[in-house]
């Protein structure tokens, strides 16, 4: 597995902090509440380990811990990745309700749940990816968002990746004023994409130090 130096790791966390700040602002406008998001840690782990980790974290938080809803988007460009936003399934309707307001009847809300989740995913993932692209001075072309429900392993496997492919796991804690909603973002990368990402981080560091 590709290892990041301390400086590379620090740079990546800083970039994600900026991206998550952008995502928090977007999320706050979406749900009309103050939203605090943090990036306590990032880690590169195998897809299988990421699924186990997610499963155990969600088991402690959710009413139906084995079910996750996820929105994925594939990105190509400076590096290729599948970005996946995940929430416990039982929080999905609550999020959609916050987005569209109290006036929409429950039946209509349920009908549009998948579409609304796709739009939430689209906004949050693009806020993170867009920041990466801007910081790297590159473009990342994204696919349309897709909605999935399943176990953590099924959701992380939507890209068709192998269980030993690398997942850049970003644990985002969404803290809303009135609602405690935990979400996770994962970026699935293969080895070649991981090298490309490392190269982009080093170019960014070089620019930051005035060497490029």
């Amino acid at each position: 597995m590709v290892e990041l130096s301390e400086l590379e790791n620090d740079a990546l966390i800083e970039i994600f902090n900026i991206g998550v700040g952008q995502a928090a602002a977007s999320m706050s406008a979406l749900v009309s509440e103050e939203v605090r998001m943090s990036v306590p840690s990032i880690s590169f782990i195998s897809r299988a380990d990421a699924a186990r980790l997610l499963g155990s974290r969600l088991a402690a938080e959710a009413e139906a811990p084995d079910r996750i809803c996820g929105v994925s988007q594939h990105y190509e460009g400076a590096f290729d990745t599948d970005a996946i936003l995940m929430f416990p399934e039982d929080k999905s309707l609550e999020l959609v309700r916050l987005m569209v307001g109290e006036t929409v009847p429950l039946q209509e809300l349920t009908d549009m749940e998948q579409e609304a989740m796709c739009e939430i995913g689209n906004i949050i993932l693009n806020a993170c990816i867009g920041t990466l692209a801007n910081v790297f001075e590159q473009e990342l072309r994204g696919s349309l968002p897709e909605y999935h429900v399943g176990t953590s392993d099924e959701i992380l496997g939507v890209s068709g990746s192998e269980p030993d492919s690398v997942v850049l796991m970003l644990h985002i804690d969404f803290a809303l004023d009135k609602h405690q909603i935990l979400g996770y973002v994962a970026f699935v990368l293969d080895i070649s994409a991981l090298h490309d990402l490392k190269e982009q981080i080093n170019r960014y560091i070089a620019r930051a130090m005035g060497q490029a």
């Binding site: 406008a29 689209n122 906004i123 806020a127 990816i129 692209a133 801007n134 473009e139 990342l140 349309l144």
Partner: protein, 127 residues
């Protein structure tokens, strides 16, 4: 006595593959401008047909959509109606997208859709 010609009702064309986004944009537009018309299209291709029929005063265009996509659709709309105000309304916050919008003479507004953002966009059509 002065003749007063009633002002034509303004029409906004919302182009977005997300039904939820169209619904939110429509709701804010009609809250801000209750007398205006709102026309919706779910794809870039559909937006061209709807624009020909409705002759909108403003187009709000998503970028990432199935089919031709928002930027290609906006380019075609620009050829059909060179003076028509068109703004991208997108989650794609990348500088490359903003620069492309600027080069094509399109407005740019980030999602999520909020009433304040819609109010800014309606001003492009005199709202």
């Amino acid at each position: 006595m002065t003749d007063v010609t009633p002002e034509r009702t303004k029409t906004v064309l919302i182009v977005d593959d997300s039904r939820v986004s169209r619904m939110m944009a429509r709701q804010y537009i009609l809250h801000l401008q209750p007398g205006w018309n709102v026309v919706e299209a779910g794809t870039g291709e559909e937006s061209l047909d709807k624009a020909r029929a409705a002759l909108p005063d403003l187009v709000l265009m998503d970028v990432n959509m199935p089919g031709m996509g928002g930027i290609a659709a906006a380019e075609q709309l620009r050829r059909l109606a060179p003076a028509l105000p068109i703004s991208l309304l997108t989650a794609n916050v990348q500088s490359a997208t903003r620069e492309r919008a600027e080069a094509l003479g399109l407005g740019f507004m980030e999602k999520p859709i909020t009433e304040a953002r819609i109010a800014q966009l309606l001003a492009l059509a005199g709202g």
